[in-house]
């Protein structure tokens, strides 16, 4: 681990935290999870409009068959992840947003029959055809944000030109090793996806950012890049191990030394950021025509055998937990995602989503919230240069309009502030509430 002398001396803000890594699954080979008997596929697994079902109850579907299609400008299609019979549409509470969402249920036939997909040579495809293949595969950002990839990659002619692709292999959350394993076991697939993206955006420079706690992944990616036929300069950057290194804007600053304007996107400064697992999915979609029906999920924490499992979307979390020997008796929490930003689940039956990179089992002991003592650690740790304590005090007093002046909408909700809060204040919860109220306020006063 690199130590930043300026930070230790307090000359520079710490801008992040160092939670214990707990990368216990870093040597766990990617294996296949058991086939679920039944899957629940929420229509809203991505940022944007929910998909609309295109199958009817009673229909028989095969793996990879589209069951719901994207609606509007920002949405993503959803495909059957097992073969079987479509059941009546149901409504579930979304494992990520906590709001009700429609879901297609498929009762498996145990056959695991796959549809047929059309392979293609990306060099002979037009940009439109490549984007269509990505859209048809229902690919979303697999790093956790789940933004539809074809929307992110679609650059209208008048938009600012992209000059750099930044491949995000930071995996800064503790416990998670799914990207680490993917970079070590399928680096060629990731680079095949990168090649497609670079060609699509006519970019000749790319960086792969990986935290230096994954030396084997750095090595594997470097070696594969040397052998790969890539349309430009691609280099691997070993980044310091610090949470949240993998947050888009933090990573751009670390790798390129540039800042994304407040409220803007990386593309505003000519950078396209893609997670490694997303790139592998792009390769599957463009080269093989294969839709996104599964991903590598790390099952970590208080289970008998933590593992990295290729899991079908819609599988109940319990299927993966049982495949790892079950929860230990003292565990009391199931989190989708890592411990810093993951979302605690109300039940072990919740379905796995496209964005679920980790199922974390923990024993969680809640701290007692005390009053802020103005220690300023949250300001020191904030990677976005914000004053998190101000959000807490203003939300408590219901002074919502003032939040905008403190740039609350720039907050990426990484939780570095709350991690180091001596008063155990759930700062991120206050921020989420404040943001929601601020948006409400904005709607009421045009």
């Amino acid at each position: 681990m690199k130590v930043d002398l300026f930070e230790v001396l307090g000359i520079r803000r710490a801008e992040g935290v160092h939670p214990p890594g707990h990368k216990t699954t870093s040597e766990a080979m990617i294996e296949r999870a058991p086939l679920p008997e039944r899957v629940v596929l929420p229509m809203s697994q991505h940022i944007g409009a929910p998909a609309t079902p295109v199958v009817a109850p009673g229909d028989h579907v095969v793996v990879g068959q589209r069951v719901a299609e994207a609606v509007g400008a920002c949405s993503a299609s959803i495909h059957a992840t097992i073969s079987g019979e479509v059941k009546p549409l149901t409504t579930i509470v979304s494992p990520t947003t906590g709001t009700p969402t429609g879901a297609i249920v498929i009762e498996g036939d145990g056959e695991d029959t796959w549809g047929t997909f059309e392979a293609a040579d990306p060099d002979s495809l037009s940009s439109e055809e490549i984007l269509a293949r990505i859209a048809d595969a229902g690919i979303v950002g697999l790093g956790g944000a789940a933004f539809p990839t074809h929307v992110k990659l679609n650059r209208p002619p008048e938009s600012p030109a992209i000059h750099t692709v930044l491949v995000n292999g930071a995996e800064c959350e503790p416990h998670i090793t799914s990207d680490d394993r993917l970079m070590r076991e399928k680096p060629d697939r990731i680079l095949a996806g990168l090649r497609v993206v670079m060609q699509l955006l006519s970019v000749h420079r790319a960086y792969v950012g990986i935290e230096d706690n994954k030396p084997r992944a750095i090595e594997a990616m470097r070696q594969t890049i040397q052998k790969a036929d890539l349309p430009g300069d691609v280099s691997v950057i070993a980044l310091g191990t610090k949470y949240p290194m993998g947050a888009e804007k933090t990573m751009i600053k670390a790798v390129l030394g540039r800042e994304v304007p407040e409220g803007g996107f990386p593309t505003d400064i000519g950078v396209a950021v893609q997670n490694v697992a997303t790139l592998a999915a792009v390769a599957d979609a463009v080269l093989d025509g294969r839709p996104l029906v599964e991903r590598v999920v790390t099952i970590a924490g208080s289970v008998a055998t933590p593992r990295n499992l290729i899991s079908r979307f819609g599988s109940p979390a319990s299927l993966l937990i049982d495949a790892c020997g079950g929860m230990s008796p003292d565990a009391n929490s199931i989190v989708f995602g890592g411990p810093m930003m993951g979302i605690a689940q109300a039940s072990a039956d919740v379905p796995l989503l496209k964005s679920t990179n980790c199922v974390l089992i923990q024993r969680e002991v809640a701290g007692i919230e005390r009053d802020c003592i103005r220690c300023g650690r949250c300001i020191q740790r904030c990677p976005m240069g914000l004053m998190p304590l101000m959000y807490v005090s203003h939300v408590k007093k219901d002074m919502i309009a003032e939040l905008a002046g403190y740039h609350v909408l720039s907050c990426v909700e990484c939780g570095a502030c709350a991690y180091d809060c001596p008063a155990s204040i759930p700062i991120v919860s206050y921020i989420k509430l404040g943001k929601a109220k601020l948006r409400q306020l904005g709607r009421r006063t045009p």
Partner: protein
């Protein structure tokens, strides 16, 4: 029992660092034990009695104030710090009733009346010190030299910063006495060495950063030098060391950002020199920190961090929260 019933649904992050208010506070208490032990060593067992009375009065005042405010009392250790600090900045032969009144004012008025830990504007211990020194100036005017024997009668003497101070010591001898603590003064202020060790502990525990003590002491050094004084004498004498490490660094009453903390420390340093050389009082550390406490909200307003992606110029001119 179903799976659902035993799952907790706490918000992210689901992991937390090893920090808590009481951990921080008791580490400060630990670091303060050195100057406190020094005070007892230099000025006799009576100081130990003062320390005990100070800590107990502060804690009891907080219990009572919380009861009056119908809030739950939590033994976070902050009242212990206030009790220790208050006694350490009092003359070593202060009557115990002065210690009690100072404690009641520090916790009851300066801290709890403003809303308790986190809400107080002024450093409670210093506010208590200021209150008793204004109210009982006559009683507190008696300063003594360090004792040679713990139970011996104390010898009254002027402190190094007071006008009537005369010494037969040579300069190196005086520096040595000031550094080790063999001079008259408030109970816990006389030994720069013990305070520096305590301060180093605070730095090592990560409770404080170096900016406030270094800029505070450096400002006093440079400014007293410019004004034709002996700079080394000015940083070693009086309460500067204790104030710099243990009181100007108080989270609650100081600025939030590093830049703000540097401004705070420089301002306090300037005030110390002005009070000592131009003002009517021999020592100005307590008032310098109390005055800067009042400036803290203003400093915070003008030293906001620059959000990532904001142009360097406009970040600070754009007023938020208004």
């Amino acid at each position: 029992m179903t799976e659902q019933s035993r799952l907790t649904l706490s918000p992210a992050p689901h992991v937390r660092g090893k920090t808590s208010i009481s951990r921080d506070m008791y580490l400060v208490v630990l670091a303060l034990l050195l100057p406190a032990a020094g005070a007892v060593y230099f000025f006799g067992l009576y100081v130990l009695l003062m320390l005990g009375v100070g800590v107990i009065s502060c804690v009891l005042t907080e219990v009572a104030a919380k009861a009056l405010r119908r809030k739950s009392f939590h033994m976070d250790g902050s009242a212990v710090i206030t009790g220790l600090l208050l006694v350490l900045v009092l003359p070593p032969r202060s009557p115990l009733w002065v210690v009690v009144i100072g404690s009641v004012f520090a916790i009851g008025i300066a801290k709890e009346a403003f809303g308790g830990l986190g809400c107080n504007i002024f450093n409670p211990a210093l506010a208590g010190r200021a209150f008793v020194s204004i109210s009982f100036a006559g009683v507190l005017g008696r300063w003594i030299l360090p004792t040679t024997s713990w139970l011996a009668d104390a010898v009254t003497s002027a402190t190094p910063l007071s006008e009537g101070f005369v010494t037969t010591m040579t300069k190196p001898e005086l520096y040595r006495a000031l550094f080790l603590g063999h001079v008259g003064g408030s109970a816990g202020e006389t030994s720069a060495l013990l305070i520096l060790i305590g301060g180093a502990m605070l730095l090592a525990f990560g409770i404080i950063k170096w900016h406030i003590p270094v800029f505070y002491i450096a400002t006093v050094f440079v400014l007293s030098w410019i004004m034709g004084q002996d700079p080394l004498f000015h940083i070693l004498a009086g309460g500067l060391m204790l104030g710099a490490f243990f009181m100007a660094t108080d989270y609650v009453t100081g600025p939030l950002t590093t830049r703000g903390r540097i401004l705070f420390a420089v301002g306090a340093g300037v005030l110390v020199v002005l009070i000592r050389l131009i003002g009517s009082m021999p020592e100005g550390v307590a008032y310098s920190i109390l005055v800067m406490n009042a400036f803290t909200p203003l400093i915070d307003r003008y030293t906001r961090p620059r959000p990532l992606g904001m142009p360097r110029k406009s970040a600070r001119t754009r007023a938020g929260g208004e």
